[in-house]
Symmetry: C3
Subunit: 175 residues, 3 copies
């Protein structure tokens, strides 16, 4: 039995979508919250590249055997950003074009000027694009599954590749 | 007794604003963290629409009887984004104008081109705007109340309506 | 022993980077998750200013004696945003320039028009810039340390100063 955004919902929640599901673990239980994590490594191959992390994050949630919880996905880099959107080839090209339209690589930036900066990667636009997209994403886990809508994919945006990158997936379990 | 950003603060925190409030539950207690959730349904009526979710999220926190905790508010859609800002009519119009200025609906996008995409909604701009705003928001719960500043409202941005939308509110309680 | 993005990793995780670290606390333990918080006060001195919060957040994590956990850093204001990027003088200037390029202060905004708005600060651009950057940040705590990459700094963006501002740091501990 699944809700219409694609993850299974306990029957109590279906019976009362607008209300709270009764907590399944009474407050006097000895079961504790726990945290686990996994480090994902990405090897990007071009300067600007979008990488689909959805399955790897879902696998981490499955391996953690979490029923209700929270997942934090974090980029460990200043020019690797994270976003949620649809994984469709045409749209992915539009996202890459948009990033360059909003923050062009070709402008003059202080970070790219050897007289003002010790960085020789000429990657100011990548840093700036990353500030707009964000460095981490949070998701719920409901009924044992990552709470993603039907068309939602977890996407890493490599803004200054190719590089080896690391993304941490930390999972907080409550049941 | 309230702090100047509008939520009640336990007296221990007031006495030592820069320091930590002593945890009220000793580590040996049997009280456990617990997770509950509520699914909010929105029915939007126009293409571009801002919806104030603040009260509905506050109600969910009250119903969960959380004293200290974390609230995760998540859009289950790729063209419904979430943001925090002031709920003022003039500003809401400015936000809508800004979205179209930064990412215009009228440009050519691959996602809108039938030869490259199976999507016939012509909503590429909505996907792109959503990537800049973000798909989820996290808030603290302090002293039993959602930790929002005086002028902060929780706003859903419908970028491709009208539609029926779902937003999950997941609440993690620690006391 | 540290991983290559700069935080210490328990040896079990190093032995199996792609896998889960076994939880150190068995489910039958009495240790509970707990939440603590600290309120940071910032006094900004100019209209547009970037403030490095990294050390203050790291100090809060140290004081909380958290081994594995989650940190939520939240702006309590609609014109103070938060972001993660590199703390380098040249880049900080680029970030400030970019904010004005993407959302110029000098445009006509309804929020700045006395006939439509009761706000006399002429700060519409600040609200709009804040919606793009975001109001909160989440980080993991791994092995007792804030899980930040080598070049990642936690940056508050004052978009409408000078003012006294408050940022809450809430820490959720699982071990």
């Amino acid at each position: 039995m699944t809700s219409d955004f694609g993850f299974p919902t306990p029957s109590a929640a279906l019976n009362d979508v607008a209300g709270f599901r009764a907590p399944e673990i009474p407050p006097s239980s000895h079961t504790v919250a726990r945290a686990t994590h996994r480090v994902l490594t990405l090897r990007t191959t071009t300067r600007l590249e979008l990488v689909n992390l959805t399955e790897r994050v879902q696998d981490a949630v499955k391996a953690a055997q979490v029923r209700e919880g929270l997942v934090l996905v974090s980029s460990m880099h200043t020019t690797l950003a994270l976003m949620v959107n649809e994984w469709q080839e045409a749209l992915l090209e539009d996202i890459k074009t948009m990033l360059g339209d909003v923050i062009p690589a070709g402008r003059e930036y202080r970070h790219n000027d050897p007289s003002q900066s010790d960085c020789d990667r000429k990657n100011a636009h990548a840093h700036l694009q990353a500030t707009l997209l964000g460095h981490s994403l949070s998701f719920g886990v409901l009924g044992g599954r990552l709470a993603l809508g039907q068309f939602q994919a977890i996407i890493a945006a490599e803004l200054d590749g190719p590089r080896e990158r690391q993304v941490t997936v930390q999972i907080f379990s409550y049941a």
